[in-house]
Symmetry: C2
Subunit: 167 residues, 2 copies
């Protein structure tokens, strides 16, 4: 998620805190994946929670295009942070580059994630029991925080995870 060097600000504790807050408070996001047939990018909405260590969790239907795409190639990118009134580009948002790992239904991990996910998004109970829904844990590789117009920061995986410090 490079931007030209001169536009990137030095990373601060405040920027790290803002990035984590955007991720931890997100209930949904935009997920970009690669279309397995064409290799073209596809973007769609997904529900989002975070795992105990801060990694994003998504809970998606096997019937949706993004699920098959992630099964074919786990490289993906997640955008979180929603604007309010006025210029949408003045509101902070976080783009995370991730590698997705599918979690087997019925595994201990699935159970643990479902508990976290439903605590964060109780309305997901409506489809939590549908057999086509499964979790992917999105392992952050790096991220780009745009804290509002012109305020760009690059973050490492360590910066995003719980308990991290600036590099």
């Amino acid at each position: 998620m490079e931007e030209k060097k001169e536009t990137i600000r030095p990373l601060t504790q405040e920027a790290i805190a803002q990035a984590k807050d955007l991720l931890h408070s997100a209930g949904f996001g935009a997920l970009a994946v690669l279309d397995p047939e064409s290799g073209a990018p596809l973007v769609s909405r997904v529900g989002v929670a975070t795992d105990f260590d801060g990694a994003p969790l998504i809970f998606v239907s096997a019937l949706a295009a993004h699920t098959g795409a992630l099964q074919a190639d786990g490289r993906c990118s997640l955008l979180v942070g929603e604007p309010s009134k006025g210029d949408a580009l003045s509101y902070p948002r976080l783009s995370i580059i991730c590698l997705a790992r599918e979690i087997a239904r019925g595994s201990d991990e699935h159970g643990r994630m479902l508990e976290l996910y439903l605590a964060h998004l109780p309305k997901a109970k409506l489809y939590a029991q549908l057999p086509d829904f499964r979790f992917f844990r999105l392992e952050p590789q790096s991220a780009s925080l745009n804290g509002g117009f012109g305020k760009a920061y690059l973050l490492s995986r360590a910066n995003l995870m719980v308990e991290s410090q600036p590099d």
Copy 2:
């Protein structure tokens, strides 16, 4: 943006109207592009307006990663439609598969698009004159409407453009 056939509903006039409304009323969206170095997907927020014929227009900084990515490979995907309170997945959204075409600054097309864009997003005046901003017209190839949980439709380019009818 394929989903498995059994989940796709037959296209209706109402679905076409909903898709167009989501696009025409959007002031921003999530844009997925391909990272030119890695080929991985990247997603970021962009401001969005529509051209006279209904094609999405984005106005982006040359300093942003998505701009260089589109210059290297015009394949992209745009998500529009924002949730309100409650389950984000119960709100309609539209994922459009597009090919981006860059518009030269100073061209007649640029002038026309700037007029449309500022009429739609007046706050963009703040950066309209910055020399690193340029338009891309996103030519829709196809689209996927999710009209709320389980209500999926596939649309053609013709369905999305102004004056279109169902196939």
